[in-house]
């Protein structure tokens, strides 16, 4: 046991080793790309970044090299870690179908950092994931932000709670209950927010005098949404559902994230005017049913319109069990978004949208040492991710 402990300690120590990454091109996303660049990571943070001619690699650092280096990729919305690779009831924890509205369910209590799909994303350069309860039920639960590493959720965690996941259409019903209609789904959400307002008022009224109302985890969570501490992430695809989401946000003054938004291309001025960011559906989402009018060029249109957006891997209920934001950005890049804006959508812009730009999204001094290494244009189908670093730890050297 003692030996094992020593081995584990040694492993932990080596994980803390200092790393420098040399790149033929380094896309810092914090200024122009650097030809023959170097990124020095010390104690998990970026200590220096610049041309090889001016940035010295301290002695004893482990040095990695690649043709192209980018910030670690950020998946702006996934369910990975909750919706497991096998897709059987035993590994599907992204939707509890006991009731239509359960904002009190926390993602940290459901995340499996050992799921093979977490490793799959990591091996393709994805270092940060906004994940949690899935679209489907009108309110399915909370989401969080993790790094794609760690044996426990605590080791992976960046933010414990960032949003409550809601779905306007097509919402599903609880087990054995018919799916709610569009109007009913909105009614459920309004009722929930109004109840939360009342709960907040009750809390305020006690003002420290007398016993506070009995704790209600569901209402507490929705109060955090009303306060803007948590975003309300609303999955909506059709024009009328997106419109409903905007109306709801206006009524309650919510911090809304539009999710999916297949028909956003029909509502660019309205979305822009509302100042609402978009977590756009995976570019390769199947164009059927609610998403039948999706466009491969929507990302480019959002960018042209100046609407903040990020790309995501989304939630998949079958095959593939997860998408990969690198590939989704690639297809958007090839459909009008172009290389630079596509890379921003899975690094800097995603970090800003998710509120974690202080830590990730660019290669700048002081930021987390999260990097993805490629042997060519990261978006070309035929390139490979050749290395991944998270907070100075080399977490993958697969060629994939």
């Amino acid at each position: 046991m003692k030996t094992l402990l020593i081995i584990l300690l040694c492993a932990a120590a080596s994980a803390q080793a200092q790393v420098a990454v040399k790149g033929g091109v380094v896309h810092t996303m914090d200024g122009p790309a650097i030809t023959d660049g170097v990124v020095v990571v010390t104690d998990g943070r970026i200590a220096a970044v610049g041309p090889a001619a001016t940035v010295a690699i301290p002695a004893g650092y482990r040095v990695l090299e690649a043709a192209v280096v980018t910030p670690g990729l950020i998946d702006a919305h996934a369910t990975v870690g909750l919706s497991g690779i096998f897709n059987v009831p035993a590994d599907q924890d992204m939707l509890d179908r006991a009731g239509p509205v359960q904002p009190e369910l926390r993602a940290v209590d459901a995340y499996n950092p050992d799921d093979e799909l977490v490793a799959w994303l990591r091996s393709l350069g994805v270092t940060t994931v906004h994940t949690g309860h899935a679209p489907g039920l009108p309110v399915s639960g909370q989401t969080m932000i993790v790094k794609t590493r760690g044996r426990t959720v605590a080791e992976a965690l960046v933010r414990e709670a960032v949003a409550v996941a809601a779905t306007l259409a097509p919402a599903i019903g609880p087990e054995g209950v018919a799916a709610p209609s569009r109007a009913k789904t909105v009614a459920l959400l309004r009722q929930e927010l109004i109840r939360a307002r009342e709960y907040a008022a009750e809390l305020a009224a006690t003002g420290g005098d007398g016993p506070p109302p009995a704790r209600d985890l569901r209402a507490e969570t929705m109060v955090r949404v009303l306060d803007g501490e948590l975003a309300l992430m609303v999955t909506a695809h059709r024009v009328r559902d997106i419109t409903n989401a905007l109306r709801l946000a206006e009524e309650f003054g919510l911090r809304l994230w539009l999710d999916g938004a297949a028909e956003a291309h029909q509502l660019l001025p309205q979305i822009k005017a509302a100042g609402v960011p978009v977590l756009l559906h995976p570019t390769m989402t199947r164009a059927f049913g609610e998403t039948e009018n999706l466009s491969l060029a929507t990302a480019a249109q959002l960018a042209d319109a100046g609407i903040p957006f990020a790309l995501q891997s989304g939630y998949e209920s079958y095959v593939p069990k997860t998408r990969v934001v690198l590939f989704e950005a690639a297809v958007a890049a090839g459909h009008g978004l172009g290389f630079a804006r596509a890379l921003a959508a899975v690094t800097r812009d995603a970090a800003q949208l998710l509120g974690i730009a202080d830590r990730v999204g660019t290669l700048a001094v002081g930021k987390d040492g999260d990097l993805a290494l490629f042997d060519g244009d990261p978006f070309e189908y035929t390139s490979h991710c050749t290395g991944v670093v998270i907070e100075g730890e080399v977490v993958s050297q697969l060629v994939r």
Binding site: G84, N293, K321
Partner: protein, 437 residues
């Protein structure tokens, strides 16, 4: 109504193929697939066939030909999708696990917008298959996408036909978990194989009776549409397109093939990399798929980008397929490019989108490469077919353009957007021009 019909007819005439036209595409980068790539080449199309293909300085352009300067463009054969569900996937019903007599022909909706997306992706031939939730869900159909925007409303007018005018197709079969369900469906793999063996043995006995009757109608056994198809399979006249994922399921298909001697193409083959040598030894081709992660079901957790490369290295004939809607026909080129990422060489990758699939459908005498005499099915691209930044500009079938990115309606189907998912309804085409519908 007459006015609408007349308008529709006029449109159809306008769109009709002018097969007598001779078109020469010059100075294109030609990917012939079966020969070397030609960086500065000429492709001559006449009467729906390829009349000539070769280097620009050595290929004669016939007098009167329409000459199209294709400098900067890449031209390759039309893509062959060996496994698609565009236009329909329901043939068999819930009554039983083995229904070879049922035809996807009777379920295909030629107005599906999926066909518009398919030609936007450069596809010109698709094997439309019924689904995989059955040991056999019925007969597949090999469609030529000449029907797109042609006004041809019967799937048999799109289909490849044999000499007797019958539509060509294979037989869809499956094993593994998709077809394992409540009775009368099998509950285990052992039961699945048993049920298939039982049917093939019945088909053998039926075949013996047919042969004993020697054409005498009085002695002929009563017609059985299911067994008739299995007899075609036993005779090697109809290929089995067999859905299979796990390595042991692959081996089961090979075992049944050995027992009954049928001709088979393995489809998906997620764990094919584990048994590549055995597949190669059996001489069985593999039609495989790229999806972006493993999993979604137990038998697909070992799916890898390297499968194509490993199979090809072992000597297996490899093609990719879309399994549309599993992957989108518009992104079919990507499937093979991802194969390259997994170690496949460029030549095989390009063949795996074209001639290799044609071979699996026994159509390589007509399609799959840019060769003189073959059908003029080809794709014009604005760059390398294996790059994410390349777009399909035009798709031609039998010398007729079925997709043109410059046409706003075609672009809608290539990119998506409002209305892109709607079925095509040709007789409503003129409603917005004042016609009655």
């Amino acid at each position: 109504m007459p006015r609408t019909l007349a308008a529709a007819a006029a449109l159809l005439l306008a769109a009709a193929p002018t097969l007598a036209d001779t078109v020469a595409f010059t100075h294109a980068h030609l990917i012939t697939v079966t020969g070397e790539e030609i960086p500065d080449g000429t492709l001559v199309v006449k009467d729906g066939r390829i009349a000539a293909v070769g280097p620009a300085d050595r290929t004669r352009i016939p007098g009167g030909a329409t000459v199209v300067d294709a400098a900067g463009k890449v031209i390759m054969p039309g893509l062959v999708d060996t496994h698609s569900h565009v236009g329909g996937f329901r043939a068999a019903d819930e009554s039983g696990p083995i229904q070879p007599g049922v035809r996807i022909l009777d379920a295909v909706n030629v107005f599906s917008s999926g066909y518009r997306r398919a030609v936007a992706g450069g596809l010109t031939t698709v094997n439309v298959m019924p689904g995989s939730g059955y040991l056999s869900s019925g007969q597949t159909i090999y469609l030529k996408l000449r029907g797109v925007k042609s006004g041809a409303v019967r799937p048999e007018d799109w289909a490849y036909l044999d000499k007797e005018g019958r539509v060509l197709g294979g037989l869809k079969m499956a094993n593994g978990t998709n077809s394992m369900r409540k009775p009368p469906f099998p509950g285990t793999r052992g039961k699945s194989a048993f049920l298939v063996r039982e049917q093939f043995i019945a088909a053998r006995e039926y075949q013996a009776k047919l042969e004993a009757a020697a054409g005498d109608p009085a002695k002929r056994p009563p017609r059985d549409l299911d067994l008739e198809i299995l007899v075609e399979v036993l005779r090697g006249e109809r290929v089995v397109h067999h859905h299979t994922h796990r390595a042991d399921d692959v081996m089961t298909v090979l075992r049944l093939r050995q027992e009954f001697g049928f001709k088979v193409v393995l489809h998906h083959v997620s764990e094919g990399w584990k048994v590549a040598e055995a597949i190669a030894e059996a001489g069985v081709p593999c039609s495989i798929i790229t999806v972006d992660s493993p999993g979604g079901k137990h038998e697909a957790v070992n799916l890898r980008f390297e499968t194509g490369a490993v199979l090809a290295a072992a000597g297996v004939l490899v093609a990719y397929h879309t399994d549309d809607w599993i992957t989108d026909s518009r992104l079919f080129l990507r499937s093979a490019a991802m194969g390259l990422r997994g170690g496949l060489d460029r030549t095989t990758a390009l063949a795996s989108l074209t001639v290799n699939g044609a071979r699996m459908l026994d159509l390589d005498h007509r399609i799959g490469s840019l060769e003189e005499g073959k059908d003029a099915d080809f794709v014009i691209l604005d760059g390398d077919p294996l790059s994410v930044y390349t777009r399909v500009l035009e798709t031609w079938v039998e010398g007729r353009k079925v997709f043109d990115r410059d046409d706003p309606d075609d672009l809608l189907h290539a990119e998506g957007g409002q209305g892109a998912g709607r079925d095509q309804e040709p007789f409503l085409c003129c409603a917005d021009q004042g016609g009655e519908s």
